[in-house]
Symmetry: C2
Subunit: 349 residues, 2 copies
């Protein structure tokens, strides 16, 4: 059973994989991304290599746990947390620990091993977002979970160990520190200024137009004024909504368009860069719904995070966000939504 | 002039390198560590390749900015912040920016390109710590600076771009968010429990002896109960002291012994792993000196920090800290202080 431990100084939680009695010699350099289609557990025909499917979008008449799917969700075969167990805490002196209870699921975004979200048609990206939503809402029914984190690692140096396009969902028995801090900061802003900070940012950015990358009726993609990473871009709903789980049917395609256009522009400008994206959303049982505003943070991983950043929480960003927005806007304009960049599919092979 | 920008949500500061009008094509993969001694700006005889020296420990009779030094401190040739400028803030709507004022210095730890702190004799490590102290105290005299961050990046994947052994010191006009959070957490603990949290941790760890790696009269090295990284180890003074700048002459060799023993044990157990270490110390003008306790955090970089960690502040640590302590203790015991590991010097070449 993995163990959750909390740091007595910062209150930060850590997942300790107690069942692995690792020898130091286990620490070889990280394996290369598995890019061998014949052994890829996420390719069609290999459904038996993963745990059984939890959710799919599939062709009518095709069999469960067989090929014919467009989007497929399974449990992670090597989960960071286990679904069994309870959430009682125990302590030794200053230290607190609990069982590592949680869900860890994988959203396989497409049967095509050699593409990625930025190169798919927006309607296909909308189906992936539909998969996220179905699983996000379902895990809300388990009273042990306080938060579900949806994220995507793209490229080996961004932490992807399998190259087949996929996202991950981890449901947690506690609200993570970073999330709690962000929510508190939003409530503080609301108390002082009488409005949602993200609504104000969207409004100011759409007026200034210095950092806008993409915009449609419902969503905006903007580079971040104080972005930690070069080309860091956030996708935000224009209308206030605290939780990703509140997304309506009518939001799904516009959200997919904004996400896909941004990822495609990054792909074009930076030659298929490694990146992480994270859905920032209110905790499941959160009350102050006026103060928080869900959004997606996309962080290209072109720079190293080293001692200075770890020690200070300061980041050094070598690209002015206004210049990044200009480059990304040009890339968006050059390839209208839904049109693949010729030859670009090869970039991730 | 670089620019400091603050994020309106989190309050986090970011350094934006505004003078570089980077094109996206500038983002090639990070260069390999420069390991060519003939072109190394930190090797003896190449003193002209760096800005002039600010501090040295050198052989009597040798010339300033020439060879014959043991430890040498210079300004960073490519600083993240500039020493000229003032610290007035300006704003546009929600956003705040200021000039990127600060000092950025490099502590060259040894003339020998092919060694590192874990392989030096403790007396030589004590001389490096003396260099840290001299510069830390001197920058305290500049009223613009609120904090000075001392850190070391070892290995390319930990952010080192030059392999010649060196540390860095960045003095900042604001107290970084991570530091402010840690200090506040310590004050909160003090208010609630009537003691310094780090004093309590040291006391409990030395009693439990599950995570102790090394101990002498004045310092202890322990693996961290809720460590974010595998083999994460902290070196702490046993007696309470808020600031690194309070270190006495009598502390320097014991501190060097604890740091060197830990770095050597990591080198042996993990075959010269990439790591960052960071000196955590109270801000320059900090009053609540009873609550904070300076220490060094050593973080081997064996795992990727990806979407889950960025989104949650949760970390996944695949090595139980008690097991890590056992491995490190064995390595410390196998090679008494000051004795180099035979053949190990070659590990970093």
């Amino acid at each position: 059973m993995p163990e959750l431990r909390t740091d007595p100084v910062s209150g930060r939680w850590v997942i300790i994989a107690t069942e692995r009695a690792a020898r130091p010699t286990d620490f070889k350099p990280q394996p290369e991304e598995t890019n061998d289609v014949a052994r890829c557990p996420f390719c069609p025909g290999h459904e038996g290599m993963t745990p059984p499917e939890i959710f799919t979008v599939r062709e009518p008449g095709t069999a469960v746990n067989g090929p014919g799917w467009h989007v497929r969700v399974v449990s992670n075969k090597f989960p960071a947390l286990r679904i069994e167990g309870d959430t009682a805490k125990s302590g030794v002196g200053l230290f607190t620990r609990m069982d590592g209870v949680g869900a860890h699921e994988v959203i396989i975004e497409t049967p095509d091993h050699h593409t990625h979200l930025g190169l798919l048609a927006p309607a296909k990206v909308a189906a992936v977002i539909g998969g996220y939503l179905a699983r996000y809402r379902d895990l809300d029914n388990d009273p042990r979970f306080e938060y579900a984190l949806l994220f995507r690692n793209h490229g080996r140096s961004a932490g992807a160990s399998l190259s087949h396009p996929h996202s991950q969902l981890i449901a947690l028995p506690v609200v993570p520190k970073r999330v709690a801090e962000e929510v508190e900061a939003c409530e503080h802003f609301y108390g002082k200024r009488g409005g949602c900070v993200f609504c104000r940012i969207v409004e100011q950015e759409l007026r200034m137009r210095e950092r806008v990358v993409f915009e449609n009726d419902r969503f905006a993609a903007i580079t971040v004024f104080a972005g930690r990473f070069p080309f860091e871009t956030w996708v935000l709903p224009k209308d206030h909504a605290a939780s990703f789980g509140e997304m309506t049917e009518a939001d799904m395609l516009p959200c997919a368009e904004a996400l896909q256009a941004t990822l495609r522009a990054l792909h074009v400008c930076l030659s298929n860069p490694p990146y992480n994206f994270i859905v920032h959303t209110a905790p499941y049982h959160y009350q102050a719904r006026h103060a928080y505003h869900w959004h997606i943070e996309i962080m290209p991983r072109l720079t190293h995070v080293a001692g200075f950043e770890w020690g200070s929480g300061f980041f050094i960003n070598p690209v002015v966000p206004e210049a990044a927005a200009r480059f990304l806007r040009e890339a968006v304009a050059a390839a209208p939504a839904g049109v693949l960049v010729p030859g670009a599919e090869g970039g991730s092979r």
